[in-house]
Symmetry: C2
Subunit: 401 residues, 2 copies
């Protein structure tokens, strides 16, 4: 974690995102802990898990019916003496006598000698005998050992975040616990003298502090453990103190605000002095950005407008964070635009959009302050830097929020 961003001149979205991802890549090597399988849902698996057993463990019946020799039922109907009844969970029997039938429940062991199961629907029981109405070939309705998975075969590969289907497979082969990575620990420090906590009345010039709450939610939704969310005034001493606490407890720190061209830019002023790289990425919203390694911890500095903060997170941090958490990549697709849009030259623009049955419609203007519109969006519409206008019907790339 001692590497520095490769270049101060990273200016396109892709270049800047690559700088961030290079800085964050070492976070893949996080501590590993053992967690019981039922508690491991959503955790990132730290090692390949191979099946400790064959599954099925033993030859068993795929149906409720009668285990027989296929040769004995080749000509049907035929009546066979009943050799017994085996439920699932009962120990295996001795060999099936020639010319006999054993009643077996689904999942019950098939005795040696038997090579098929006749489903109960195709039989007629009469006391201690059963009449087989329709014969079956060798192997029918018999589950052979190891046909689901062989002992030693790869069951779940390292690196995935465990879903219910992985949990089901691990439980089925009797794995009690798995090694998983500790989640990425993230801290958030928002800045701005104008910010007020929810529930208090606003005075002139003030706005509510939403970036801390929003970033914490976005981090949690993408696999990170949020260790702290703090708000700093624009006093550099306060900011330095909160930042220092953040880098001590987290693997990754996010700041919001204080990065643009104003006279009072606490984040830029403090972090540029510590070797941080600040500049303007060719993107809207979210142009002013900063990247610092402080006490070995990457610090990503986003602009303070709420939409700029959220778009910065989506574009620059979320893809890598999902990778670090073992989650599937952000989905993108190409769909028709439902309304014409304009876009400034030289900046890649991310508009909020809502998917419809026949495309995507922009849900708010391009303004970086339109956070309410974001509540109605389910995608970002990705307008290339060189594009200045797009007609309705034009194909656009969208990324799911």
């Amino acid at each position: 974690m001692n590497s520095r961003p490769a270049s101060v001149s990273a200016r396109t979205v892709d270049e800047y995102r690559d700088s961030i991802e290079q800085l964050l890549r070492p976070l893949a090597a996080r501590p590993v802990e053992s967690v019981s399988v039922p508690a491991a849902l959503g955790r990132k698996l730290a090692a390949d898990i191979r099946s400790p057993i064959d599954l099925p463990v033993f030859r068993n019946s795929a149906m409720d019916g009668y285990a027989v020799r296929a040769d004995d039922v080749a000509v049907a109907p035929v009546t066979l003496p009943l050799a017994g009844v085996v439920a699932a969970g009962q120990p295996g029997q001795g060999p099936l006598p020639a010319g006999a039938a054993l009643k077996v429940m689904t999942g019950a062991p098939i005795p040696p000698g038997a090579d098929c199961v006749v489903p109960v629907e195709d039989t007629r029981r009469d006391g201690s005998a059963v009449t087989i109405e329709r014969g079956r070939g060798a192997g029918e309705f018999v589950r052979e050992p190891g046909t689901d998975v062989r002992a030693g075969a790869l069951l779940v590969p390292a690196g995935v975040a465990l879903t219910p289907r992985h949990i089901a497979a691990l439980a089925a082969v009797g794995v009690p616990a798995v090694p998983v990575f500790q989640p990425v620990r993230a801290a958030v420090v928002t800045t701005g003298d104008e910010l007020v906590p929810a529930g208090r009345p606003l005075r002139s010039g003030q706005i509510y502090d939403s970036n801390g709450i929003a970033l914490a939610a976005a981090l949690a939704a993408n696999g990170a453990a949020v260790v702290s969310v703090e708000h700093s005034t624009d006093d550099p001493a306060v900011f330095r103190r909160l930042l220092s606490a953040a880098t001590r407890s987290a693997d990754l720190v996010f700041t919001s605000g204080g990065v643009s061209k104003g006279d009072f830019e606490v984040v830029k002023d403090v972090l540029a002095a510590q070797g941080g790289l600040f500049g303007s990425v060719a993107v809207q919203p979210g142009g002013p950005q900063g990247l610092t390694v402080l006490d070995g911890v990457p610090v990503l500095s986003f602009p303070g407008n709420p939409v700029s903060t959220m778009v910065s997170f989506e574009v620059f941090a979320r893809p890598m964070l999902r990778h670090l958490s073992g989650l599937p990549p952000v989905r993108t697709s190409e769909v028709p635009l439902r309304a014409a849009v304009r876009s400034p030259a030289g900046r890649r623009q991310f508009l909020r959009g809502r998917l419809t049955d026949d495309g995507v419609e922009p849900v708010a203007g391009a303004g970086s302050h339109l956070i309410a519109g974001m509540a109605w969006a389910d995608v970002l519409i990705d307008i290339p830097a060189e594009t200045t206008e797009l007609a309705a019907g034009a194909p656009v790339r969208v990324r799911e929020l």
Copy 2:
């Protein structure tokens, strides 16, 4: 919750799922609690939330720059005296004197009189004067109050599970807490004398108990609160006792096993005597199914094969559970099949499949015991009941796991 399933003869997948959904619909009326916005991520909103304020609250600057009268900068370059500096968070000023400029940071209030902002990039400062290199029209870079959202306008509609973008919007308008529904409380009772907990060696005829762990994970991943997971032997008294505890603590109970045509079917034997409906749905895997209302609580009885249990959950329970939890519907799409498949006549079949760049490939056979294969699947391939074979390249409907 006193309604009974409409019909015992529900036999197609759609009919049976409809019966279940009718039974579960009253669970939408769950108790409501107030939760702080930061803690409400993923919870289902119980009421429409309207914005308590205009956003922006006040006219403010979209850029770091100079607030001026557009008329004063109509002919550029022009040098204006500086009337002061306003950072974001500072209270609004008195009116801007005619022919003057006020330095404003992004988000800072625009004084009365000023009607546009000239970005700092287009200016040159010289002590107490600023030269405007390029004029701007009235309204440029000025954010008017209420242009994001008006006080009283709908911000987030009732019924959605709150995502980070909803949390961001709620925080931005200063809403401190929201009414959310308590999650659906679910209990699981697995049955089968052959089941052994993970970590113990298997004896002859035994298998590991995976359905409880798998159902609990699937329930949690779809918004339910899992209140208990118990395993019952095939002893009816034990099953009755565990079931009774489950219906006392949960809104919805799932059982696995004991529903097919064997001689020892504890779930069917106990619940059919309580008015439960048991029968065979035309589906594979997962044919034998049961539906009971016990002490006013819906009890869904799935077959015991691990894949049958998981497919039953996916097909019969998950869509309604996601609706009850405010989560988006299960995604389905139509894609080409990468390999030919066969399917039994008269039964709708759900094969495990894996999406590739150019379609979907089946990842395991049709056997209901192939749970390890499920770990590699990301969709179910939905083969209609009347279809018996499909060639490679045929379009099939898939539903995402």
